[in-house]
Structure formats: structure tokens, C-alpha cells
Amino acid sequence: MTTELTFPVNEQQLQSFSKDRQEPQWFTDQRLAALDKAGKLELPKPDKTKITKWNFSSYSYDANAEASSSYAELSDAVRTLVGGESKIENLLTQKNGRTNYTAVQEELTNQGVIFTDMQTALQEHGDLVQKYFMQDAVSVDEHSLTAAHAALLNGGVFIYVPQNVEVKAPLQAIFAHEGSFGLYNHVLIVAEANSSLTYIENYLSEGSSNEAVANVIAEVYVADGAKVNYGAVDNFADSVTTYVNRRGQVNGTDAELYWALGLMNDGNTVSENTTYLHGRGSRGDTKSVTIGRGTQTSNFTTNMIHFGKDTDGQILKHGVMKEQATSIFNGISKIEHGATKANGEQTERVLMLSEKARGDANPILLIEEDDVTAGHAASVGKIDPLQMFYLMSRGLSRKEAERLIIHGFLEPVVGALAIDSVKEQMYDVIERKVY
């Protein structure tokens, strides 16, 4: 059965939207072609999760958020994530796709670092964006949601770090969503040879939340000897259906890409995270944690795909499931023919806090080469009663003991988030979701 998506935008409206944003012609053309495809292609088919009845078409496409540019006008939630005006180094915030705050260290600008919203990037660095945008990491025509994304993009950031530039202070992006807005957010990061950067993003819902859709794609390109740390906390409200796809092309020799993903949406979510290890000796490491609650259904798929020799890929996925939440955790380590001496390891652990919750961990190793090492571990279960006994034997109440164990279980990602205020907010999100 084909489920055809309908969109609240037609060709003409999209053309005028693109014109308003002063986009280059190639991008407008791509939007229109993609809109046509989006109506014809099928939805993605995440393994073991049926999404055909999910809401991908009920939302509005009018961004009515006013653009402001003062810190004082940012919402409390956003300011909490920033941790105070004095802490701002490199920050870009958007609400419903509109940029409402930007700050970039002057020395970075002088070094040629670009940290700007997609709209500005398309106007000012169109050629650079064109070189990467939905080329290798993600293709427009993979399925209806990637096509819809290319057609309807209305938010996001572009980051470019030139050769040999080390960005020391993290680049922080905050994407707020409100009402019934359909958010099509794109993050494009290009790290040139021997550069390094840490990027941290937060997605959140503000104010009243209506039925809405978030369609998020991130692409990261890592060249020779470059190193990218990518941290994220997704925290959309339960009425928001999310498709989020973060992919990395680790093309360079000895290039490194580290993901730390806090997947904390309250609504139905399909989250894909794929790392392609092309460069010889390149390294990919992905850590993701999630808490499922209410009646939400989620699919979290992580792929680590080895093409290069001597590549190292690590996957860690931890999930806490409560109430009647259902989640599928797919971890796929794939080692292609020719990727000799590659090492792929993965761990998936799911902690069940309720009898009615469901969590499936599916560790998969696909190995096409002989001369490799690989391993996996997976478990689904309740909190270990012996751990509880141990902690309680020191005087911690049952609740406090549970809390410590759960925070410890989610620590691999919390600990990897490089901005203290984001770490604290993630801690608060965990508290709120678990208790």
C-alpha cells in the first residue's frame, strides 16, 4: 500500500516562499522537484515499527514567530539552555525556523569559520552549500520524508570550519518549536582537513503544542584528520511527530566523528543515525540514550558502516521505557568488503520500568570482510534487584536508589554534552520524564 503524503503548501506558494528568502535558483528548483517527488515516494520503513498512520501531514507552514535579536526576548527555556548572557560564545537560536539570536566569536569569523542559519548560508555561501547539501550523506529521493525535507526546508544552520582551524568553544544551536508549525530543519556541518569543532543542539517545544511535524536532517562531512563532536538533545512535546535523521560522512583519513544524542521527545519518533566510515583509520562513535513514556512509539536505528581499512566504529544505545511506551532499538554495524582490520562494537541496553512498556533491542552485525573484529551485547530487563539492594543498604530510599541507577544508565550521553547548561537541562529532562 502506498501512503501518499499531502502537504499544506502548493508549488506556487513554495516558489514565493523561496523567493522571499532570496534563495539561489538551484535551491528553488530543487525544492520544486522535491515537492513533486515527495507526493510520489513512499514513507520510510523503519525496521519493526509501522509509521503509516502517523501524522506527517497535519501542520501549518506559516511561521508567525517574530524575529527578534535581543537576549532579553528569548524564552526562559532557551535562556536556561544558554546558561546566562555572559556565557554566550557561539550561539544561534531559532523559533519556528526564524533566527532570533546569533553570536559568533570574532576570531572565528576572522579564521573563516561560518556559523549561520541556512537562509543566510544559501544567500551568502550558496556554492559551498550546494556542494554538500543532500549530496552524499542523505539523498533527496530516499523516501517521501527526505523529499519533503528538501522541498519544505524552513530552518537550520550551516557550519563550515576551514582547514587547520580548531574551534575551541562549542557552537550551540537551539531550535524552538511552537504551535502547529511544521518544522523542516536542516543542519549541515563541513569540517575541512585537520579542523575540529564541537556542536551542540537542542530541540524543544514551547507554549501550547498542537499536532505538528518535525522533519530534521543533519549532515556532517569530516575531512582528513578532522574531528567533530556532535551533541544533541531532542525534546519535542507529545503532540509533535518527529522524523530525525543525522548522518555523518567520515571521508578523511584518520577523521573522527563522535555523536552524543539525547533522544527525549515525548511524541512518536523515528530517529536514524548513520555514520559512514570511508577514510582509512577513521573513527565513529555514537552514544544515544532515550526515555520512552506515555503511549509514544519510537524507532531508534543506528548504523555504523565501515568502508575504510582500520576503521573503528562504536555504538552505545541505552533506553529507559516506562508506562506504555514502545520502542525499537536497532543497532547495525556493517563492515564492507575491503575494510580490513576494521573494528565494530555495539551495546544496546533497555531498562523496563513498567510491565506494559515494550522495548526491543536488535543488535545486528553485517560483515563482508574476514580480517576484522566485531562484537555486540544487548539486554532488556528490569533494574537489577542486587544493585537496588546494594544502594539501599547504604540508606538510599527505593526511589533515590532507582534515580541514581537511571541517571547512571543515561550518563554516557549526559557526560558527553560539552556545555554545562545543556548537561543540566538534560538532567532536568531526565528527572521530569522519569518522575
Binding site: F389, S393, R394, G395, S397, L404, H407, F409, E411
Partner: protein
């Protein structure tokens, strides 16, 4: 202040319907150190676990009071907050939770909101206790028991004991797997605790720990209960002669319990 006390009478405990303790009794008061000795498989660790409230052990009959309160009516955490401590033979590992965070949470567990141990107080105390136990500074920032060697786990149990200052402590084979230097360090920590406000039950196979912590009472366990009690000289005699003479004296053929 009255001395703390743990009083156990005619205790019967089963694990998976197999009876392991068969009428165990003891009285431990503040200021006293009791050594519970005995060969493997005689119920010593079952005793320790059952008193603390281990979920796998079922108390089928008998009673235990802690400072006059019915111990078996209390949850595990209530026992701990009342001042009972068990240094475990096989403590759990908890990933993602640092030793320091855990110990501080435990210290604050029986304190009111407005009387929590401050970070400075905590650091001063843990630094002091870690130096007593000759533990490396990095210890407190490691995840709770994760990847610890056997000896490190034992020291960590004693560190927690010194930090939490319980009224009555049960040490379950805290000496196993320790070399002689580590043994001395652990003994130093426990001797530091000695006072009228602290009672201790040391469970051990071997007499060697008792060279460094002199017990007031020595009890021998066989077949799930105490079969012989005495003073420190009893431990010395066991060291020299082993357990066979007790078995002969009491006409016991197999000292073990719960064996298939």
C-alpha cells in the same frame, strides 16, 4: 546515650526453599567486636545477607532487634538509616554513578533537607578517610565499583563504612582476596571506628585478620548456627588446629548446610 545493640534469636533463613540458618543467635553491643568463623558453606554469608535484607533470602522464623526495634519489619534502607551496615563480599557495580556522588547521597539519606553534608565537608572527610585507607584520589571519581579489582572493592566497602559511621557493622569476608598490606590498611580503618558507639561482626574463614583487629568474642558456625563461642584465644586455637577438633568434640560429621 545507650549503646547500640543487635540481638538475634533462633534465626532460620532459607534460600530457594533450602534452609541455611537453623537457629542462629547472637548479641552484639556497642564497643564489642565479634568474629564469626567457620569453614565454607556453614551459613556465614547467609547470616550477613539476611540481616541486611537481601532480596534472595527468606527469614522463615526467629527474631532480630536493632536498638530494640524489630529488624525484620524494616526495609533495607530503613535498616541502614537506623545504623546497620554490611560490607559486602560481592558489592554490585553501578555504571555512570561516581563513587563520590553515591557516598554523598548515602550520607545525606538520613539527613533533613536543611542539614545536608556540604560539598566542602564531604571532600574534607573523604580525603581524610581515603588517606587512612591509602586509596588513590582518582577512586572517588570512578564509577561505583565498575572495573574495580577485588581488593579495590573491599577498600571501597570500608571507605563507605568510615564515611557513613554506622552503629553496627557486619563485615562479610572483607579479608578474602586482600594481601597482607591491604589487610593491615583495612584493619587500621576498622580500628579507627572502635568505640562504645560502634559494634562489629566480622565474618571470616581465617584468623589472620584477627591479628590486626582483636575481637572480644569469637564464635564458630557450623550447620547454620553457632556451635562454639569463646574469646580471642579460640581464634588462635582454630588457627593452630583447624576446625576438625570442634567437629569431633561435638560429633558433627558434615559441618555444611544446604548442600545437595
Amino acid at each position: 546515650m545507650t549503646k547500640p545493640s543487635l540481638s538475634v534469636k533462633d534465626l532460620h533463613v532459607s534460600i530457594e526453599d533450602k534452609e541455611i540458618l537453623k537457629g542462629f543467635g547472637i548479641d552484639v553491643k556497642g564497643g564489642e567486636i565479634h568474629a564469626i568463623m567457620g569453614p565454607n558453606g556453614t551459613g556465614k554469608s547467609t547470616l550477613a545477607s539476611a540481616l541486611m535484607g537481601h532480596p534472595n533470602y527468606e527469614v522463615t522464623s526467629g527474631e532480630a532487634t536493632f536498638n530494640g526495634e524489630d529488624l525484620f519489619e524494616m526495609e533495607v534502607d530503613e535498616r541502614a538509616r537506623a545504623g546497620l551496615f554490611l560490607a559486602m563480599q560481592y558489592p554490585s557495580e553501578v555504571s555512570g554513578v561516581t563513587n563520590a556522588d553515591f557516598i554523598r547521597s548515602a550520607m545525606n539519606a538520613d539527613r533533613d533537607e536543611d542539614d545536608q553534608v556540604s560539598l566542602m565537608q564531604f571532600i574534607r572527610k573523604i580525603d581524610d578517610k581515603m588517606s587512612t585507607l591509602e586509596i588513590d584520589q582518582s577512586f572517588q571519581h570512578r564509577y561505583l565499583n565498575e572495573g574495580f579489582s577485588g581488593g579495590e572493592k573491599k577498600r571501597n566497602e570500608i571507605l563507605q563504612l568510615l564515611m557513613l559511621e554506622p552503629k553496627i557493622a557486619i563485615l562479610d569476608e572483607i579479608d578474602s582476596g586482600l594481601d597482607i598490606d591491604a589487610l593491615k590498611v583495612v584493619a587500621k580503618g576498622i580500628n579507627e571506628m572502635r568505640s562504645d558507639d560502634f559494634g562489629c561482626m566480622i565474618i571470616t574463614h581465617y584468623q589472620r585478620l584477627l591479628n590486626y583487629i582483636e575481637p572480644d568474642f569469637v564464635h564458630v558456625m557450623m550447620q547454620g548456627k553457632i556451635v562454639k563461642s569463646g574469646g580471642p584465644e579460640l581464634a588462635k586455637k582454630l588457627e593452630e588446629k583447624g576446625y576438625e577438633w570442634i567437629k569431633e568434640e561435638l560429633g558433627i560429621e558434615d559441618e555444611r548446610v544446604g548442600q545437595e
